[in-house]
Subunit: 174 residues, 2 copies
């Protein structure tokens, strides 16, 4: 058996447990609609090595150190994160990988919705009102069924300033 | 590529993220030394299906529902656990599986120490004082480097009554 194939399946299994496909909609003054869309893939783990290996297999991303604190302020074990934030890498590296080495948990649904979004952004559809609303709907769908902690109380994430988004909220009412 | 091979690697990757190999030493009146040794393999996940699939691939174990509560008493999302508690299954099914589909994280060290214990128990070495002490040393080694939450304050687990073990503690002093 080809060892790179074996590694591909192994990493896919690891992501099934530890990976996250995320979409963020955020305020962006310079864009026509006032909002930007950001896609990201994250895998967290206490151990750096497996994330470096995952990065190598996927051919992109960067491993970051993330210090976490408990409620009582005590530092927890260091946590590492592999983050892939480049839209190009998501489109050209992650999608071919996860189409080949399929996920087996419900995370696959998240992946497929995320993939749709990545492809919409590639076609510039997030720059249209219709496209942006569709992406927000996708994002809501991905958040359904998650634990309260993981679910957002508002339909959209904000990168930078964490304000309410009155304009978008009006859109929903129309 | 053989799809059962692919599944094997996928499940190994999943276990690299979510699995746990554990050893428990507990009071057992009927045994000569007064202590028994128990080996177990556990994988936890919010989703039952992937655990049922893992069970199928490994050819043993049972999926249990585990309700968890937050500190404030609120029920968290249900959590499922695949547990393999039979020593025979650990020896004859898990060891061949994880020897073939190798783990890639530091969990592999845990697995190798656990495997040594399973094989020692199969040879009845846990029934000797020397063997039992070696198993306790292995267990301590596995707990080193884990987060405080995962680490035990005493060198041994107790199934049933959670008492101190004065006899064993004296053994360490010798």
């Amino acid at each position: 058996m080809d060892s790179s194939e074996a590694l591909g399946h192994h990493i896919s299994g690891f992501v099934d447990g530890e990976g996250n496909f995320t979409i963020a909609v955020f305020k962006q003054r310079e864009s026509r609609l006032g909002y930007g869309v950001h896609v990201m893939f994250v895998v967290g783990q206490a151990e750096r090595e497996i994330l470096e290996l995952t990065r190598q297999i996927l051919g992109c991303g960067r491993v970051h150190l993330r210090h976490q604190y408990n409620k009582d302020g005590f530092k927890r074990m260091p946590q590492f994160e592999l983050r892939i934030q480049s839209h190009k890498d998501c489109l050209l590296k992650l999608i071919p990988f996860f189409d080949k080495y399929e996920l087996l948990t419900k995370k696959k649904n998240d992946y497929l919705l995320w993939k749709t979004t990545v492809q919409m952004v590639a076609r510039g559809e997030h720059l249209t009102r219709k496209g942006l609303l569709k992406i927000i709907e996708i994002k809501k769908k991905m958040e359904q069924g998650r634990s309260k902690k993981g679910r957002k109380s508002v339909p959209i994430d904000f990168i930078g300033r964490h304000n309410q988004l009155p304009i978008l909220e009006n859109w929903f009412k129309e």
